[in-house]
Amino acid sequence: MAAVATCGGDAGSAGSAVATGSKSNVTSFQRRGPRASGTNDSGPRLVSITGTRPSVRNGQLLVSTGLPALDQLLGGGLAVGTVLLIEEDKYNIYSSLLFKYFLAEGIVNGHTLLVASANEDPANILQELPAPLLDDNCKKEFDEDVYNHKTPESNIKMKIAWRYQLLPKMEQIGPVSSSRFGHYYDASKRIPQELIEASKWHGFFLPEKISSTLKVEPCSLTHGYIKLLQFIQNIIYEEGFDGSNPQKKQKNILRIGIQNLGSPLWGDDICCTENGDSSHSLTKFLYVLRGLLRTSLSVCIITMPTHLIQNKAVIAHITNLSDIVVGLESFIGSERETNPLYKDYHGLIHIRQIPRLNNLVCDESDVKDLGFKLKRKLFTIELESGFASFHSAHF
């Protein structure tokens, strides 16, 4: 595929990157997850899908969220077959940015995309994706951008140990090559058109799909949700992501992105009233979606305006039916914008739930107070600290 060629990465190099990084025992190569039915999950198989890697802990297949900082907090990445629910910030600025990072990562890795939205045409969403930082000649610009934030003193050459001034002043990060797991994006530039054209994507724009008549009997789901589930199931079956189609055996990941789920534009009244008619529509949708994902090689990101949901008990149900739940809280317009404690950050990121898949333990990170800030080419997540950040790790 052309997208893969421009990345310079292919299944072989991804596999070898995994080989050097993993432990010596054979089990870390095995994909023991409940994905891809139709294949017997008894024998270990070497996985060679681009853009994936097995988890160090239990060999589960992971994909990158598009944000290496977030991957680290989630224990290495997003497990295939799971749902990442993002609780939108108030003005849907940063959540839509995370949504776009996820989709851009899919394009860079050559995954198939499925973009569903009720308010924006998926073709327009794809046009607005951030440009990936792939080549090495971007690295110079990238370093300059970060160093600009440092004080002038740091640019003074070290006089004592002249040899040391050649070493990088902080951890070597940034884009090295495009076959790595997780990429960096320039939020100020658009993704090159040829990358979009080379990628495979399916769009679900609700106003277009809703006009046709409904054939299945109503099961108290909103019409929009029924159509979306049918669309997703159709793609999964037709393109062989669940291994059941005898003609097509996919060796690729389907990245599903659903924007603003639960908003009134989907026909759901969960954000308008406390006990509406379709009060269980969204939870049934999430349940059937979970069933679809668990039996296919797909991964899903959903952004949801949970701050608008009137009935708080529903949020608890939604959290239980999702695998990973991340809440974003931006400081725009709130009193925290001028609070000196938070002046370095654009908002807070709350990791509300991490799944325990195929395991008794989960990869819970030790720190719970995390702030994020968006620079032009970097979305960093750091330990909140009013003073000098001792543990700040720029990913």
Partner: protein
């Protein structure tokens, strides 16, 4: 199963009590480790187990079960385990009209349905077979978890009715056990969930409640387990016995210790 938990509950697979309803609940934490414990416990006790797994797939329980020493695939093949995979069934029901009634039929219904088909399924799965094959000791029904049924539109009363029917059949008629998991929503006002939880608490013989620590997240102590033994049928003149322990979940087991006695602290 976790040997330390067996010690705390004073049971072993050989001499477990029969005819009991055990309620597992979790508040502000994940109590699924208790489900894995009871699943492996009853399989090792040579019971016939009907597992209604609504929230995770079969291979999830299988992989964890292997860490705990039971093989679910083999148990299913030899008929010891009847596994209802809720997620897979939901996809089947939703996309294809079913000819015969399915245990999770309520997913297709527009109004709040009832769980009669699910009860029929359980009764069919656990009824004693007279063919004289490998005799299982007693039947066990395990449900993970009941709060999912509430979030899918069923009322608390429908779920309580289902449990009542199951108790009558499994606990009283067949002298088996029932173990269910319910999430406690805590300070969130979830009326239906509270009704369900309170109703089940009054009917249970044993309540295991996993709670997150009040002071927040800790790496060495993952939570607190409250164990409450009850006698629902007898008068309440005797005080129910209650114990509290803290626990830490590890890769293959869970270690329990008295409050404040975590090895990390001492």
């Amino acid at each position: 199963m976790f040997p330390e938990l067996n010690n705390l509950l004073n049971t072993t697979p050989d001499r477990a009590e029969q005819g009991k309803l055990t309620l597992l609940c979790d508040a502000k934490t994940d109590g699924s480790f208790l489900v894995h414990h009871f699943l492996s416990f009853y399989l090792k006790a040579n019971c016939k187990v009907c597992f209604v797994a609504l929230i995770q797939s079969f291979s999830h329980y299988n992989i964890v079960g292997q860490k705990l020493g039971v093989n679910l695939t083999m148990a299913r093949e030899r008929g010891q385990l009847v596994f209802l995979e809720g997620l897979k069934s939901a996809v089947d029901i939703f996309f294809q009209a079913q000819e015969k009634p399915h245990p999770l039929q309520f997913l297709r219904e527009a109004n709040a349905g009832n769980l009669k088909p699910l009860f029929e399924f359980v009764r069919e799965a656990l009824k004693p077979v007279d063919s004289g094959e490998a005799g299982w000791t007693y039947p066990v029904l395990l449900v993970d978890d009941l709060s999912v049924l509430l979030s899918l539109g069923l009322g608390a009363v429908a779920v309580l009715d289902f449990i009542h029917y199951c108790r009558a059949t499994v606990c009283w008629e067949l002298k088996g056990n029932v173990v269910v998991l319910v999430h406690d929503s805590g300070d969130v006002e979830d009326e239906e969930n509270d009704i369900l939880l309170n109703g089940l608490s009054h009917q249970s013989h044993l309540i295991l409640r996993a709670e997150g620590l009040a002071t927040g997240f800790c790496r060495d102590v993952h939570g607190q387990l409250r164990i409450l033994w009850r006698r629902p049928s007898q008068s309440t003149s005797q005080r129910d016995q209650s114990l509290t322990y803290q626990y830490k979940i590890q890769d293959r087991s869970v270690s329990f210790f008295a409050k404040g006695m975590s090895p990390a602290v001492l």
